[in-house]
């Protein structure tokens, strides 16, 4: 071959060697390796000063005292607030996701009239007109149990001579019915689990869904050596850490509690209540262990054992939940034992014409609401109470799209907890009257305004903004604004007058009798916070934490003991239809031995039809199959004792 070609080959060889003697190739490779490490579509981070700003979060039922973590002023996370007794550093899974919900595309951007976006001016106009037109036939449904906003809204009603104030069904309401209704007490019942040496959770799923969950868990954590016993139809998450689980059907809880009273009375305990003798007679006659065992299936010796532990304790406490009767029985038992049950005073009101908390809890929403105009504040009755609410004109106030806002005539976007002034007064169950408030951490999302301001005038207030109402509240209760803003809580030490409290003997005697529905199996609806609550749908990061015992794909999962499954002729994974109340649910079967035989446990809070992909179309809505039965003797309605028929499909 020719010299030219060889020369060329050799030159290129030389060139190749030469380039290797320069940094070019290596730096080039290095740059390429870096190039492979930074993809343009992957979001980059924001840097700056990192702070933890204390405030309150209203996503769970009781509300959490939180610190919002911000970087360069932008909120990115939520952590607990060490200095606040409601948190002690911990928070619930819902509030832990607060910032993500705040930034969710599911937020409502602007006021809407029949689905059309309108201006805030227009919205206010419509609101005022409708209020005027409705006259006294106005109702309020509030999903907030602890906020001063309820004073504002109730004042609006008072101004219009209406008493139709409703809260969503909650333990606080049931407890109040028992305490102020049946037993003639005043103030709010609380339970001191932290200092008790024996705690009987009579149906109260205290570490997951009952009362101030986080405060309860903190109490549990700090209570060294205290013995916790859980009684209920299923082994809830609470039961996984208590030292004992006593299987008791929901409708039998009152009778079970009275069954324990039997032993306590036998031990000679008494209370200076006017109807004590009547009560004693009623229990000794009607609720002997044998009778209770017959009615509830709970073994007498189990009750004896529990009673023994309570009696031997120096500071026992019984935490009831479920029906009014169950609460009354529980309170009675506490009075007999004289342990860690507390009675909390109510904080002074800030708004003239506002109802007291007890008055607010009187309305029985399960009986149905029918009004010319219904104002719904951060509640989701269209989802949780599909049949109860009828209205000529509905105003829904919420920060995100829900079934309720979708169905409402007028929608007013509200600010997220982290964007507004809000407060928490004595969430139900806390051991002492405690007040916490929070100032805004983030700038409001574009278009968002504080919808509560629209009700200042109708409530007869001349304040500029709701913030002033909060200030008034703080002043009224005699707390220090600055300390509260710093995240500290204000505690009110005083006990309301207990004279004239009765044991509601006559009513309780009848009301405690277990009333069961007609369905084939009992239904134990349960709440897991990661799934959500009646008012708060599943949060963005929660789905990864929801177990396949609640949700598989888009199918809800119901749990039952193997014997129940055998009886119903179903097995793990079989698809079933549950029918009860006036509705039906579809679900997959999971066998879980921690459920009372003859009972099916179903998770509440799924099956949303409106919202983001994290809740919409996930599972089915158990509220549809709950049966409302009336506790005639207690003059209230309850979901306890719901039953369902199960059909394989």
């Amino acid at each position: 071959m020719s010299v030219a070609r060889r020369a060329f080959i050799q030159m290129s060889v030389g060139a190749t060697v030469g380039i290797l003697f320069t940094p070019t190739v290596w730096t080039l490779l290095d740059d390429v390796s870096i190039w492979t490490q930074n993809w343009p579509w992957i979001p980059t981070l924001k840097y700056g000063e990192v702070k933890g700003v204390p405030t309150v979060s209203k996503m769970c039922e009781s509300g959490c005292a939180v610190k919002v973590r911000t970087v360069a002023g932008e909120a990115f996370g939520t952590e607990g607030n060490m200095d606040n007794p409601l948190s002690g550093g911990g928070i619930c899974p819902l509030c832990a996701n607060g910032v993500q919900v705040k930034n969710s595309p599911n937020r409502i951007a602007a006021p809407m009239l029949n689905g059309e976006e309108i201006t805030w001016e227009k919205a206010e106009e419509v609101l005022v007109d409708k209020l005027a037109a409705a006259g006294s036939n106005v109702a309020v449904i509030s999903g907030d149990q602890t906020g001063t906003v309820n004073e504002l809204l109730s004042a609006v009603l008072t101004g219009k001579q209406s008493d139709k104030f409703y809260t969503m069904p909650c333990d606080m309401q049931v407890s109040d019915r028992a305490w102020t209704g049946l037993m003639g007490g005043s103030g709010q019942i609380g339970y001191d689990m932290e200092n008790a040496d024996v705690v009987l959770l009579a149906g109260a799923d205290a570490f997951e869904s009952w009362g101030p969950t986080v405060a309860n868990m903190k109490a549990f954590a700090n209570n060294e050596g205290g013995k916790f016993i859980f009684a209920g139809p299923m082994q809830t998450k609470t039961a996984s850490v208590t030292s004992k689980w006593v299987p008791v059907p929901a409708e039998g809880m009152a009778a079970f509690t009275l069954g324990i009273c039997y032993y306590v009375l036998q031990a000679g305990k008494s209370v200076p209540a006017s109807d004590f003798d009547q009560f004693k007679a009623m229990v000794m006659a009607g609720y002997t262990p044998a009778k209770v065992e017959a009615a509830t299936g709970v073994k007498a010796d189990q009750m004896a054992e529990v009673a023994k532990q309570l009696l031997s304790a120096s500071n026992p406490v019984v935490v009831p939940a479920g029906s009014v009767a169950a609460n009354a029985a529980g309170i009675a038992l506490n009075l007999l034992l004289g342990g860690g049950m507390k009675v909390l005073p109510e904080f002074a009101a800030a708004v003239d014409g506002a109802m007291t908390r007890s008055e607010m809890l009187k309305g029985d929403i399960l009986q149905g609401v029918d009004a010319e105009m219904v104002i719904i504040y951060e509640a989701n009755p269209t989802y949780a109470l599909p049949e109860q609410v009828k209205a000529g004109f509905t105003v829904a106030i919420d920060s995100v799209n829900t079934e309720t806002t979708a169905a409402a005539d007028l929608v007013l976007p509200s600010l997220h907890s982290y964007e507004r002034y809000d407060d928490l007064a004595s969430p139900y169950g806390v051991a002492s009257a405690i007040y916490t408030m929070g100032a805004p951490v983030s700038k409001p999302a574009s278009g968002a305004k504080d919808a509560r301001d629209l009700f200042l005038a109708p409530a007869g207030l001349d304040s500029e903004s709701f913030a002033e109402v909060i200030e008034a509240k703080v002043e009224a209760i005699g707390a220090d604004m600055d300390e509260l803003v710093e995240g500290a809580a204000y505690v009110l030490e005083e006990t309301p007058d207990m004279s004239g409290v009765t044991l509601a003997a006559s009513a309780l005697g009848k009301a405690a009798v277990p009333v069961k529905g007609t369905g084939a199996v009992g239904l134990a609806p349960y709440t897991v916070l990661s799934v959500g609550t009646a008012n708060q749908a599943t949060t963005p990061n929660a789905p990864a934490t929801i177990s396949n015992n609640q949700l598989v794909g888009d199918n809800m999962v119901v749990m039952m003991a193997s014997v129940t499954a055998k009886k119903l002729g179903v097995s793990v994974g079989s698809k079933v239809k549950l029918s009860g109340g006036n509705g039906e649910c579809e679900a997959l079967v999971q066998v879980f031995e921690g459920v009372l035989p003859g009972v099916v446990a179903a998770p509440l809070g799924m099956g949303h039809t409106v919202g983001d992909e994290f809740s919409k179309g996930k599972g089915d809505n158990v509220y549809k199959i709950l049966t409302v039965s009336s506790e005639a003797a207690a003059g209230a309605s309850t979901w306890a004792g719901s039953t369902v028929n199960v059909a394989k499909i």
Binding site: M1, L29, S33, T36, Q37
Partner: protein, 413 residues
């Protein structure tokens, strides 16, 4: 029309017929390409792999083809280093098969790594302690060697070979082929071993973990043996398949039998150690971590029958069939044994890949099932189609089989 390109003195099917065949293969290949595109563009979430089964069909496929492709290095070793003349009659085919298998494995690996653009980090930031690094090194290097071994065959193509430069070049390569064969043998032996080592070193996976010799767990040596035990028979099977398809005799049975004999003896050695290893593992290691042999199996999918068929039906049986001359010399039985052996080694790779990670080590953890989805199948089949295409082209245009003319077009010998 392309008859000028055919090897000296051979006949091939009509161009139209050939195109039809290629069209079919091409279609299958494109189906795989579609699957591959989805994987590369949307991410590996597209496949049936998950957090429990990070390794699945792809890795199994890779290990299997690499084992079966071992015919290339081992035969090369025997022919060039140990100078077994007989084998030159089939050596070309072994090289082509080796090339297909390794090239295919590489393609699959590109899909299998989550960040293909970083695949070369194995060279840029190597971790010398990792068996996988060794694999990456050896496979890439060995693929290059195979290409070098393949090139002269291409250059011997009738028309190309007329060019003096190419002729000379091809000749030079041939002279040095022994060197490459040597390098190839070394590289291939090592990564066959490393592939086994990959599993043997998993201290967290009782199903696969093995003690070993120096830095190499026993699986290291077992994988080498199983590969050399099956590679040659696989070559024989391919040759036979080609004969069936083309209707020509391509390799004389004497050579096939020799290959089978070699494979058979290696396979026997392998089975001997494999059985000892399994026994030691079941009775020695497992109890030491609180586990029993039975714990390792579950239901039908992960049942004991897998290991039984691997070791007995597809291990001991073919080993015997191949070493016993009277059986080996019956074509039908030879091929059966060969097929069994190949299934055996593939099963072994599958068990080591999937069952290893399927066994729930934490007592409260559960056995999970793994189903590869069509994307994994399609891409794997794509590789097989690729192999067929390469071999078809080579057969049609390259002088792959030195004996072809002798066996088919000349009467007697």
């Amino acid at each position: 029309m392309d008859s000028k390109l055919f090897p000296e003195g051979t006949q091939r099917c009509s161009f139209g017929q050939f195109m039809l065949w290629m069209g079919f293969l091409g279609a299958v290949f494109l189906w795989g390409v579609y699957g591959a595109t989805l994987v590369l563009y949307n991410g590996i979430g597209t496949t049936g792999l998950d957090n429990y089964f990070g390794f699945g069909a792809w890795i199994t496929f890779d290990l299997a083809v690499i084992a079966l492709g071992a015919g290339a290095f081992f035969t090369g070793l025997l022919k060039y280093i140990l100078k077994i003349k007989q084998l030159e009659k089939i050596i070309n085919l072994t090289v082509i098969i080796g090339f297909c298998c390794y090239a295919g494995a590489m393609l699959i690996l590109v899909l299998d790594v989550g960040q293909p653009t970083r695949a070369w980090f194995g060279y840029w930031h190597p971790n010398v302690h990792s068996m996988l690094t060794e694999v990456i090194f050896c496979i890439t290097c060995y693929l290059i060697v195979l290409i070098i071994e393949f090139v002269p065959l291409i250059l011997e193509q009738k028309q190309l070979n007329k060019i003096p430069f190419i002729h000379a070049f091809a000749h030079n390569l041939h002279v040095n082929m022994a060197l490459f064969a040597g390098i190839g043998a070394f590289l291939s032996t090592f990564h066959q071993g490393s592939l086994g080592g990959m599993y043997g070193v998993l201290i967290g996976r009782p199903f696969a973990f093995r003690e070993g010799f120096f830095i190499w767990p026993w699986t290291f040596f077992l994988f080498i043996l199983s590969a050399v035990g099956t590679g040659p028979v696989f070559t024989v099977l391919v040759a036979t398949l080609m004969e069936k398809i083309t209707g020509k005799k391509l390799v004389d049975f004497k050579t096939k039998a020799l290959m089978a004999k070699i494979a058979g003896s290696m396979l026997s050695v392998y089975m001997f150690f494999k059985i000892i290893d399994t026994w030691a593992w079941a009775t020695g290691y497992l109890p030491s971590v609180g586990l029993t042999f039975d714990d390792m199996f579950y239901g039908f999918i992960y049942g004991k029958w897998l290991m039984f068929s691997e070791i007995v039906i597809c291990g001991i049986v073919p080993a015997i069939m191949l070493v016993v001359p009277s059986i080996r010399n019956r074509p039908g039985l030879l091929y059966t044994a060969g097929i069994l052996a190949c299934i055996g080694v593939s099963l072994n790779r599958y068990i080591f890949t999937v069952q290893t990670i399927a066994f729930p080590v934490m007592p409260f953890d559960t056995w999970q099932l793994y189903y590869p989805n069509w994307v994994e199948y399609a891409t794997s089949i794509m590789i097989i189609a690729f192999g067929f295409i390469v071999i078809s082209l080579s057969y049609r245009y390259l002088p792959v089989f030195p004996l072809e003319t002798k066996l088919n077009y000349q009467s007697g010998d």
